[in-house]
């Protein structure tokens, strides 16, 4: 263990018998606990899985909470105070922590658009951003579009035009289309196609998707 890099604010990471293992955790300048890493960062994963505990001079606690970063997210109008492993993508927070499974994981690489959500009104790929980067943000997912039991005009238009087959890409398509209409840049069908090119539909429902968006644009 590289003791020389462990400072006053650091906490030794030990196993259940009290034996030190080669990693440590510490508070960073933001006041949050985060993983610190030394020789073999991969060892951290094993330690989490194996349930090692972390102790300092004056406290003993379970490791997971201490390693996480606090973050506040407002999702579909509901505020959530979370403590997250900094690696957690916004997509995984929505699906795995908040049980909002409408947002889909397709490629997980920013290539398919199935994970599209709105952050402060802008469409983004939620798989390519860490949730801790969005403290204080307003997130809208497909679950947040309908109001008082009435579908959003884009949702209704997708039904009217049969703009999906399997439906897996649809939440991303709909969130993307809602933002596209708000952006106000697309007027023609070819402009809609270009500005929707970040949303792939492997069933090939594109013709009907464009028709649905045109209908919704007329209504908004």
């Amino acid at each position: 263990m590289e003791r020389s890099r462990v400072g006053a604010r650091d906490k030794a990471l030990v196993d259940k018998s009290g034996k030190q293992v080669g990693v440590y955790a510490r508070t960073n300048d933001a006041g949050a606990f985060a993983w610190g890493t030394l020789r073999n960062p991969r060892a951290l994963l094993a330690i989490q899985v194996d349930g090692f505990i972390m102790i300092s001079d004056d406290e003993i606690g379970s490791g997971t909470a201490a390693f996480s970063v606090p973050v506040n997210l407002t999702v579909n109008g509901t505020r959530h105070a979370l403590a997250l492993d900094p690696r957690t993508t916004l997509l995984d927070v929505l699906r795995e922590h908040l049980d909002l499974t409408g947002t889909k994981k397709g490629c997980d690489q920013g290539q398919c658009g199935a994970c599209t959500v709105l952050i402060d009104g802008r469409r983004v790929n939620s798989c390519l951003t860490f949730a801790v980067m969005h403290d204080g943000a307003q997130i809208t997912t497909v679950e947040g579009l309908a109001k008082d039991g009435t579908l959003h005009p884009v949702q209704q238009a997708f039904i009217d035009h049969d703009a999906f087959q399997c439906g897996y890409c649809t939440p991303g398509q709909i969130c993307s289309a809602v933002a596209l209409i708000a952006e106000g840049r697309a007027r023609t069908a070819e402009e809609i196609r270009e500005l929707m090119s970040g949303n792939i539909c492997r069933c090939g429902a594109y013709t009907n998707i464009v028709a649905a968006i045109q209908q919704a644009m007329g209504r908004s």
Binding site: A30, L45, G110, R123, T129, E190, E194, L195
Partner: protein, 338 residues
């Protein structure tokens, strides 16, 4: 993805201080490339410094009549900025030719300059790659190299730089403002990205410990005679096989000044002063354009799957110069190449 310490920087000085002396630390802005690479464990930072709170989000006029674009201005915001659309339409067009609206909404100006190659072998940690692991070899030279370089490559690396925005910035002769522990400096765009040589692991001349704070656009925007022409395997949301950014100044039919930069063909946006000299003082016609293309491509070299790009580049250069001379820039929504 390996675990990392997450920290936030409050201002530029704080960001530089947090990065200092830690080669395993990385800044994150949009994260659209870094997080992808972290998932693949191509990038393995042990500390990630979030710079999204830095006050670098403005597009401002400079004293000399240009614009200063903060490093955190998102690609969409830059492309849709009225001053960019009016005065630097080639830049707006190039940005809109790249990625998707979701990615452009996240991606930052500074991050666009620092994105890594999309060479498949760079991403595949089971394969040798001198850029990812210096000395391990280049799998692309004898592998699937359809996307790869035809100019300026080396035996160590034939990767291309993937950015569209940077091709326009190279043509416009932008300047990159950076800050490090020893202060600020300004890097000419042509000197920012590197050729691979025998150190392909270094994409740019940004020093360890430095942060990009702004991209400065000089006054000349070529807003009348310009184009950004991008040819790719899909009509949208694909990296360039070849792209060309053009800016011309014309007096009647005579070219008084002509610039063009190519994307998708080299480790950096590619310009050739001799090719641009072949335009100056010449009539804006097919003969002139073909000669300029010939000069730029005279040392081009193809590999097994990308030799077609040499002729494609020649045709794209001639077509793009023609579009610019006619004042009919390529539309990024109508895909028809006029």
């Amino acid at each position: 993805m390996i675990n990392f310490e997450y920290a936030r920087a409050s201002d530029v000085a704080d960001a530089v201080r947090q990065l200092a002396g830690n080669p395993a630390a990385k800044f994150v802005a949009g994260g659209t490339n870094l997080i992808d690479l972290m998932k693949m464990e191509v990038e393995r930072p042990t500390k990630v410094i979030d710079i999204n709170r830095l006050p670098l989000k403005q597009v401002e006029a400079t004293a000399v009549g240009g614009l200063r674009v903060g490093a955190l201005v998102r690609n969409t915001d830059l492309a849709y900025d009225p001053l960019i659309e009016q005065r630097y339409p080639v830049l707006a067009s190039a940005i809109m030719a790249g990625a998707s609206q979701q990615l452009r909404n996240m991606a930052s100006t500074g991050g666009n300059l620092l994105q890594r190659t999309r060479c498949h072998y760079f991403y595949d940690t089971a394969m040798p790659c001198n850029k990812r692991e210096p000395g391990s070899g280049c799998a692309a030279i004898t592998g699937h190299n359809r996307m790869h370089a035809i100019l300026g490559a080396s035996e160590a690396c034939i990767a291309t730089h993937p950015s569209d925005m940077c091709v326009a910035l190279a043509m416009l002769e932008a300047k990159v403002h950076v800050t490090g522990a020893s202060g600020e400096r300004v890097i000419a765009f042509a000197d920012f990205h590197r050729l691979p040589g025998d150190t392909p692991q270094r994409d740019t001349n940004l020093d360890a410990g430095e942060i990009i704070t702004a991209v400065e656009l000089p006054p000349q925007g070529f807003a009348t005679n310009y184009t950004y022409l991008k040819v790719r395997d899909r009509l949208s949301y694909a990296f360039a096989l070849v792209s060309v950014a053009v800016g011309l100044e014309l007096k009647g039919d005579t070219i008084t000044q002509g610039r063009f930069a190519l994307g998708g063909v080299a480790h950096k946006p590619w310009r050739d002063p001799n090719a641009e000299a072949a335009l100056r003082g010449q009539p804006a016609n097919a003969t002139t354009f073909a000669r300029a293309a010939q000069v730029l491509l005279k040392d081009a070299r193809g590999y097994e799957h990308n030799a077609f790009k040499i002729d494609l580049a020649r045709r794209c250069i001639v077509r793009a110069l023609t579009q610019a001379a006619r004042g009919m820039p390529q539309s990024q929504s109508s895909k028809k190449i006029m």
